[in-house]
Symmetry: C3
Subunit: 671 residues, 3 copies
């Protein structure tokens, strides 16, 4: 939630790059954008080269004009700091700012996100620019937020990073002996005697692929170090801006399920979360919903900003299909349904040159308002105006949490074995989707978050069990909570060192099982899950489970482990701990999770209906139930209580049957 | 056409590399090659290291012997300059001659086409060698042509090229401000303040793939610069040779649809066009025909030289299938049918070592003449002897031109969006093939060529509309011509900057339409073209068209743009301008183009017959109609007028039914 | 065969890495491993960094303890020299030890097999370490063998290697003129005038892919040089150890069909062959058998050591499936059936960190003996104890040899043309498998081995015919032997220079044929082999054969070479020489080879039965017939003579029908 006196409604607008256009176009923008009901502009995202034309010189004259113009035209500003792409002159004069890539190649000037995070030049001048901007514009009260850099990402492997990595390690591990221990360097004789012997893990050292490493410990620590290095850059800018404008909230735009950055570690340093939502053509909409829920979970459920989405097409997919009529509105409300308090686009006007010129925009190359895309934007803008502050600050409430952990993500996918097809995201989504389809609200939380507010915690492939997490889970179940985890859980500590004594390691007692072996087969080779004489399919991994207190809920139907338990339940204190030892088909999972939810006292918001998404936000006594029709056909629904639809102000009676048009949305307030 | 007093027939022969063999083998060659009716040898293609064994030393003794021997044995010589592969000693002494590749790696000595085109060493010594050769052999009157270097190609990204690129830019754009403008560097903050800040676009700077760039403008200019750099090398050799032997024509061998070199820009500097024809196993023969037509079009229809083809197999394909009996003859005449005045092979004798030792040759490793391949070569040679000068200098006449433009090729395939499957060549061939199958002669011409001699001009995906081309097209149509273009046309100017105001930009008035949006879907996802209640399939891109003067000829059958026009026709002055907004199946295109041709007063040479290729060359009053049977079965044909077959001297009456054997050829002179 | 007074049984055990564990775990190992009947440990494989913590310092205290402990606990030791991974400090201080990879990149510290074989630092310190180890432990009489380094492999392209390559060339070819001749450098003008102009062939010079080169001669010599360079490293260690411990046999562990090292050239320098057997999930078990036979053939049939296999899973496959119950035992006996005198595992205890932590081990992460894997290991260990020295030193006897040649492997797969699908291993296995399935014992031998002991020699694609091999084969056939070879044979000499005069070159007289041309088609495009009106399928390559003394056995059924011979037989002296000019389906080959064997007086050990493998070892009068059931179902067999089963001591009568359980094994001694 953007805590600003300027914010009285769902902010609507997005990236605006007038510096790419002659001033006569600006005037036309000022005519057109109010027609689209745009109220907020993200500006100055890639402007460093113009703001600082040479080492000793800053030039804000154009930005001054833009700021004045936006102020005069009553637009809010989300002011970016332009540090996402360094100037060409800087790259030439100070090559330390250029990254060394995963292949060990020193890069030249080009692209964006191109600065080494441990470059002294970058750190000095990005912070200086942020300070200059803050000082210059601190009194422009139309700034609703700062937007530091843009979509931080990527990695660097240069000598400055190597040195910084050694310092980072020294701070974390104190002695080289500790490093040797946590990286298990006695394997393959990698014992280090001096910090300087350590080199970054890439294709020239320990890696034989981006995700394939011979020393997981080094690679894992480098992933952490790299995420931390970029976070430091963010924090440096944050600090200097905050000192100057303490009352303007600060963010940077995240990218949802972006693996290289541990957003859970970043989140405390953002005043609010914002993110850019660009699903691919074949992403199911449940994956988008999951990303929203993950982003919302970063700050304990606080509403977030949808910072970017395309009004029509992207340009970077192999096939850049149009968002069909109504889809942009539908997906915008999907974001709101999951906790967004803004609806923003990239971008206001389509550029005419370089790689994003065929990315969609509110104003197309045609240059006028008579386009389908502009009309859809304007209609949505008008609706958001009417919604006012009704939804602002409302929260999604959920009895179910799925644990999501970046370290675990890295560690699982760096793992050599058991299966190349084991992907953390896919496992998380497999469980999420089943709950989503059944209309349960779900939170995606960190292992450090509070567990007590939930009735059910699901942790697919909780491979890495960090210090204390096993006790937290035991306490949670002991107190009556229900816990479910799956194959490849409990194996390692935070250094990816195996917890000896048998899998699932520190979770063994809680789960009441011992997993002796795990079979891994190509995904088309299935086994059966037999439960009460019903047979379901499963694949991927196949744990061979011994019961040590748990009861068998279902067993394998085939292979030499036929009859061996595959799903188990362990009563533990007041609660229960479930284990799913293979990858079940959705039908089984759906049945299983519905039963578990029911036993845990959790009920869905509404009965499930294919292609209909349901989510609920709550503010005080008010409940806002979002019903979204993702189908291409109209859908009949029967309501479970009296409601008023915020979008058309119509009231519905309990039990009333309504027909929801294709791609249409209801926001029902309880009466 | 090779303007030489030595040329009285279709030259027959090809590459000959005696320097790879002991002299006793030369004598055997002199016995064998006349048996194959070979009359022309391309020699000295890769001989630099032997001709210049060290920096200050030239040694022509072996080449002298070869020249003498060929002269004594009455062979014409096409004398190459050997600059296609530099000597190893030169690479060691002057590393500036070694290229830096797309990955930014300095290469070592190896392969061929290995010299940096902006290397001072290369420029100095390649020109010096050409001069030495010209001076030494200027009085050998059996030289019919000079052959500079060999198959120029590839790219370099070294520091010398970087500097040369900056000079090239400075000449073209004068000021850095102009560069910033045409490359739209304000996008992503890439503003340059000094020429030296500009670095070549490759994987270390703006590219994330060979064809994927974040700044199309830079990449496009580098493609032009690279083509120009190689052209300069060619021109430097040309100039020095021309001064010494002003009467010997000069060429270099092109490679057909070779993307890195803008052959249209090269062509003026060649005295005649020559090219190497190596179709892949799965290339349709229409693609070969199209390549011939493109090569012929480079110099306004002037006959060209087929410089290389294999007599039997290639060696570099995954599966090097034999040319079936008769196919080498058939394809040789295909070249002649499309304007070749020579039939040449790579090579005379199969080498015994290195990577081309399994490439076909007239003389096989067996070493004697008792092979199928030798016999087929000898039989063709004999036929060409009999044809004499009959066809020399005759021209292919066409009422139809397809526009082909290298800048457009580069720009379309650098484009980020709309579809990764949009390939310029494929689009050109899609339209070419339909006309080819219907027996229309077609010219492939540049946008700078004269339009007035044509009745129909087709420009598939004329994405880039260069300065003046729109007016030329308007004038052409206004004067009664027919023009057809397709999706992704009219978007950008020569800098790949979008023409704002709506697609198809500067072609909008001519076409009478506005394309509001373009949908892009995987190619297996089709829509329908509905014309007069008939339905045809289309895929790839789907323009959403508004009529602004044009009439709808056909509409979409499905999706949210069902009923929207997909094919339109605009009457403009005396002519008509057609637009095809999606990628139609061949059946639709065939029907459409036949109707358009008919309306434009263009008729095919002969009625279409499957697997039968027809082309016509004209000299004065004489018409030479080539009929080629690509089928594996005999084919019946009914002749439309009295003819005499040049190959067997038989005469045919009007309406006579003849049977053409599999792979057989007729060259019919009108009576 | 390990010639050691300590060896009285099939050694059982494998890699043991106590240096990765605290000492309390060692004690537990000493309790557990005897329960598994382990008697032999390979230790000290990756320990260099600990043994030599800095340049001037050696520290054997931990290794002393380990040696003492193993001695006390009555384990044999296979003592490795730890040179397979250099210490990090050494890489930092002496970067010459780091390799330059195929892409030309200088590597940093990381992985294993990471030392440049021509690094002065590596050569100095690896030998010094070996000497230190030998001196220190020479009196520990529980050492049964030395294990130098580990799985030698990979390539280096650094400047030291470049220089060493030039020296290697100078020794081999004496003059640069000879190099130019054997590499055919006049092709593409590559003539060298000085040794220093030669650079290693990699992606920066002659290669455009790991197996794609423009100069086969250079690439072939570099492959030889690289194999020799690593062999020199091995020999240096061997020499210093042998001087100190002349009575302890020395080996290094090979990797079966490992292409980069010419094991036939290495074998003389090993006291016995040892190798690591890691089949992939989809390798047929006949391929494993073939690898064993190849390894056995390296030292003229001398029994070898199975140095490594996994007791359960690997960790580096995409899908690491469990070895099903019984499979580890089955495959262990398969090794013994083919000549192994040891059964060893990687490894004793599963590590807890780095990339092999999910590789199977005798002792799992669970840490105790109550696992399926431990039980199976213990049961096998007990069986091996009971077998005692019965099988030790027995030999596999075969009337059939398949020629296998590393130079030929390299040359075939460097070849540009005729077909990218022609793989040497696949061709070898195609012929091997047919014989294997029919229960013939087969030797895989070198072209330098003795031919006279065989009745049938098969040489699929004997592309390279080295000096004298043609005469050896002619003598073999002349004396009554039967020889069979196939397409792409007889083309080149040892420099990959084509033998002019027609294929199959120096084998032409022996085979009585001339292969005029070879067609190459994608493998799904088949032709027919017609023999006595029966039709069989063939694909890949299609030789067009002229009979020159041979008789046609079968002919093509289709295409323009229908009716042309495809299989021929030439009577030559007392014997016969067969030629197969295409790639036949298994059914044809099976029929053909059975007939050929029968005519040559070779009969299978037992009649074929699906999924049943049969092999026989012989010692004096005793025959040991191994029968292995690879099926998942029981299999009935009828015995052909009276036997006693060594594993259960049961006796069987002639003609007795027995039922072999799934995955079960019989070792039948003749009575």
């Amino acid at each position: 939630m953007i805590e600003s006196p300027k914010v009285h409604k769902i902010l609507y607008g997005g990236d605006y790059n007038p510096e790419q256009w002659p001033e006569e176009v600006w005037q036309e923008d000022m005519r057109l954008l109010p027609k689209a009901h745009v109220d907020t502009m993200t500006i100055n995202v890639f402007n460093w080269a113009k703001l600082q034309p040479s080492e000793g010189e800053y030039n804000f004259s154009e930005l001054d004009k833009i700021m004045e113009m936006l102020k005069e035209n009553h637009f809010n500003v989300c002011l970016a700091t332009s540090s996402a792409a360094h100037p060409a002159w800087m790259a030439k004069r100070y090559p330390d700012i250029l990254r060394v890539d995963f292949e060990g190649r020193k890069r030249k000037f080009g692209m964006r996100h191109n600065s080494c995070p441990n470059s002294p030049t970058y750190k000095k001048y990005s912070v200086k620019l942020a300070a200059e901007l803050a000082k210059r514009y601190k009194d422009f009260d139309h700034i609703v937020a700062w937007h530091i850099s843009n979509e931080y990402g990527g990695e660097c492997y240069c000598d400055n990073c190597s040195n910084a990595f050694r310092v980072w390690l020294k701070e974390k591990y104190k002695t080289i002996e500790n490093v040797n221990k946590v990286w298990n360097t006695s394997f393959w004789g990698h014992t280090f005697y001096d910090w300087d012997e350590i080199v970054p893990p890439n294709i020239l050292s320990e890696h034989f692929g981006y995700n394939r490493t011979t020393f997981q410990g080094i690679s894992l620590d480098y992933a952490r170090f790299n995420s931390d290095s970029l976070l430091e850059c963010y924090k440096d800018e944050y600090k200097v801006i905050k000192e100057i404008t303490p009352n303007i909230p600060i963010t940077t735009n995240f990218m949802g399920l972006y693996k290289p950055l541990d957003y859970q570690k970043w989140a405390p340093y953002l005043d609010f979360i914002s993110w850019d939502n660009y699903p691919s053509n074949d992403d199911p909409y449940s994956r988008t919903a999951m990303s929203h829920d993950l982003m919302r979970g970063l700050k304990k459920g606080m509403p977030f900003a949808l910072m970017e989405q395309t009004p029509s097409v992207t340009n970077w997919l192999p096939y850049n299909a149009l968002k069909r009529p109504g889809v942009m509105r539908l997906w915008s409300y999907q974001a709101v349904a999951h906790g967004a308090d803004t609806v923003m686009f990239f971008q206001m006007r389509r550029s005419i040159g370089a790689c994003e010129k065929y990315h969609g925009a509110v104003i197309d190359h045609a240059g006028h308002e008579n386009t389908r895309v502009f009309r859809e934007c304007a209609e949505l803008g008008q609706e958001l105006d009417l919604l006012g502050d009704k939804l602002l600050g409302s929260r999604v409430k959920s009895d179910i949490a799925i644990l999501f952990d970046w370290d675990n993500w890295w560690a699982i996918e760096y793992s050599a074995g058991p299966s190349a097809d084991l992907k953390y995201q896919t496992q998380i989504h497999h469980y999420y989707q089943v709950l989503f389809n059944e209309n349960y609200n779900v939170d995606l939380i960190s292992v450090n978050d509070d567990f007590d507010q939930y009735k059910l915690i699901i942790a697919p492939s909780l491979y890495m069990v960090k210090e204390g997490v096993d006790q937290k889970l035991e306490k949670f179940v002991n107190n009556g909570g229900t816990f479910l985890t799956t194959f490849f859980s409990g194996y390692v500590d935070e250094h990816d060192l195996v917890q000896a004594g048998g899998y699932p390691g520190k979770l063994s007692e809680l789960l009441g099982i011992w997993v002796e072996e795990t079979d891994a087969l190509p995904v088309q080779q299935c086994n059966e899950i037999i439960e009460q004489e019903q047979s379901y399919s499963c694949n991927l991994l196949f744990d061979i489970i011994h019961l040590q207190g748990a009861e068998a809920v279902a067993s394998y139907g085939e292979d030499f482990y036929a009859g061996i338990p595959v799903v188990t339940k362990n009563t533990f204190g007041e609660g229960a701990a479930w284990y799913v030892g293979s990858n079940p088909e959705e039908g089984y999972l759906s049945k299983l999770l519905k039963n578990i939810c029911h036993d845990a006292g959790i009920e869905p918001i509404l009965p499930a209906s294919e292609g209909i998404e349901v989510s609920r936000r709550v503010k005080g006594e008010s409940q806002y139930t979002f019903i979204l029709n993702h189908n291409d056909l109209p859908k009949k629904l029967v309501l479970d209580q009296p409601y008023r639809d915020l979008l058309n102000n119509k009231e519905y009676a309990n039990g009333e049957e309504i027909v929801l048009s294709p791609k249409d949305v209801l926001i029902l307030e309880n009466l």
